[in-house]
């Protein structure tokens, strides 16, 4: 009974999440004049180069793994 109540409570979240995922991954033709949203800052893959530069250096110096997002030269003695 509790499980059913929990399911009912979560159902809107689950269905809403599924709808969002379905919406995000739908493949539609995008005309050049339909790219206004894609041009905005928050839609860039790297939305803030200063933050990404800081994060790359921070986690490189604190973890054993690095890379993935791009290839760029430059090293430091922090690891």
């Amino acid at each position: 009974m509790k499980a059913a109540a929990l399911l009912c409570a979560l159902l809107p979240l689950v269905t809403g999440g599924c709808a969002t995922i379905d919406d995000a991954f739908s493949i539609d033709e995008v005309k050049p004049w339909q790219r206004d949203v894609l041009a905005e800052d928050d839609m860039q893959l790297v939305s803030d180069t200063m933050d990404s530069s800081v994060d790359d250096h921070l986690y490189y110096s604190r973890e054993a793994s690095t890379g993935g997002a791009g290839v760029r030269g430059g090293g430091c003695g922090c690891n």
Partner: protein, 431 residues
């Protein structure tokens, strides 16, 4: 290899519209400016638009460990066909860094100062040799160029040089981006080479791997060369979603040990009787699989930015990194952006908390000659929670403030946790 950001801006934005330039490029960042539609530049002109982005941050670890103050300046000039960026970085680093040694009160073991420090004996810092004082400055300069060769093809290339008291580095990268005729798909290929010189500050040497710190031989400066290659695929799925997938491979050869790290030798009565210098393989092969999605929620100004990275190398390290950002606009000029990063890595094959001693008091050395107590090679779980606020002051200027809290938990390291706070302020001006 520490990454440095490269050119991005009007050209990058157009490439991003086509399907996102993946290599050596980034978006302009910051608060959304009005009229930034396709082909519509900021600041009213597409001819030689300039921007300068300055950032200042304080990174402070708890328990008086590492403190970093960083200043970054990124100057960019961009027009229809080219983006040229110059980035300068200045870091000051100080604190007491873990050496890898276990706590011991015998005072028998001599250690070496961490990056930028001087050699000293136990008792001059934390009293037990587990941490070494250091104080260093790093400067870095980078140049990045991105040029559109024709409507379908662009090239990016750059160079970076970095210098501190115990490490020199220089590198270069080149990449190609090919866009589909309909502008929704992008293929990227890039390669970077980095050359590092590693040595102990004020000694210009490296210690003998697994040599006893009390009488280890001194070797010449360590050298390491690294080549990284990456293939990328980008796709605009619909009017509100962009995805990216990258496959990366890196090979490095040369000196990989940390000249300041040590590993304790412990006898059968649990006494620390010696410390040996860090010893790592002279080659490392890394591979990454990276995916990202940016999506604007339906009928909303809110967006999510999700990424995942799978990492593995031939040292036995496998890691998973998940990053989520949620952009929440507050009116025309403000936004908030909560940030969550989850990280998990397995330990390197040769990571050990200490080496055991035999009945004669001699360290039992690993068969392959590799051992490190560096906590960064231990298994660890990391969590970062942060929030960023952005404020567009006018058409040309925006401010960003970022606060982050980092927590790390180690599987097998004496100092089992690390926490740190990051405060960053950035200002961008376009002219």
């Amino acid at each position: 290899m520490a990454a440095t950001d490269t050119a991005g801006g009007a050209l990058s934005r157009r490439l991003a519209l086509a399907a996102c330039s993946l290599l050596g490029a980034g978006g302009a960042g910051g608060v959304p400016a009005p009229a930034q539609a396709a082909g519509v530049p900021f600041a009213g002109s597409d001819d030689d638009a300039w921007s300068v982005d300055g950032s200042w941050l304080a990174y402070t670890e708890s328990d008086d460990r590492v403190a970093v103050r960083k200043t970054l300046v990124d100057l960019q000039r961009e027009n229809d066909a080219h983006t040229i960026g110059v980035q300068l970085v200045h870091d000051t680093m100080s604190g007491a860094s873990p050496t890898g040694a276990l706590a011991d009160d015998s005072g028998q073991v001599t250690y070496t100062g961490a990056s930028g420090g001087q050699g000293f004996a136990v008792g001059e810092d934390e009293g037990d040799g587990t941490r070494a004082l250091f104080d260093d400055t790093r400067v870095q300069a980078g140049l990045a160029v991105e040029s559109e060769l024709d409507r379908a093809l662009s090239v990016n290339y750059g160079a970076v040089v970095s210098q501190e008291s115990d490490h020199d580095s220089f590198g270069g990268n080149v990449g190609l981006t090919r866009r589909s005729s309909d502008g929704v798909t992008t293929l990227d290929a890039g390669i970077a080479a980095t050359f590092d010189g590693i040595y102990r500050s004020e000694r210009d040497d490296t210690p003998e791997p697994l040599g006893d710190v009390a009488d280890a031989s001194s070797f010449e400066q360590g050298e390491r060369s690294t080549v990284d290659a990456l293939l990328g695929f980008g796709r605009v799925l619909n009017r509100r979603t962009v995805v990216q997938a990258n496959l990366g491979l890196g090979v490095s050869s040369g000196y990989h040990s940390d000249p300041y790290k040590v590993i304790s030798v412990v006898d059968d009565r649990q006494r620390v009787i010696a410390a040996l210098h860090d010893s790592r393989p002279d080659q490392r092969v890394r591979a990454t699989l990276f995916g990202k999605m940016v999506h604007r929620l339906k009928d909303s100004e809110r967006s999510v930015n999700l990424s995942y990275r799978l990492y593995g190398d031939d040292w036995g390290v496998v890691s998973h990194t998940f990053v989520a950002r949620y952009r929440l606009p507050l009116g025309e000029r403000l936004f908030l952006e909560p940030h969550l990063r989850l990280y998990r890595q397995g330990a390197a094959d040769f990571h050990l908390p200490f080496l055991a001693a035999d009945e004669r008091g001699e360290a039992v050395l690993p068969a392959d000659g590799h051992a490190s107590a560096d906590y960064r090679l231990d298994g660890l779980t990391g969590t970062t929670l942060g929030i960023k606020a952005g404020w567009r002051i006018g058409a040309r200027t925006d401010l960003r403030l970022r606060l982050e809290r980092l927590e790390q938990r180690f599987d097998d390291t004496a100092d089992g946790t690390l926490s740190a706070t990051l405060v960053q302020t950035s200002v961008r001006y376009r002219f």
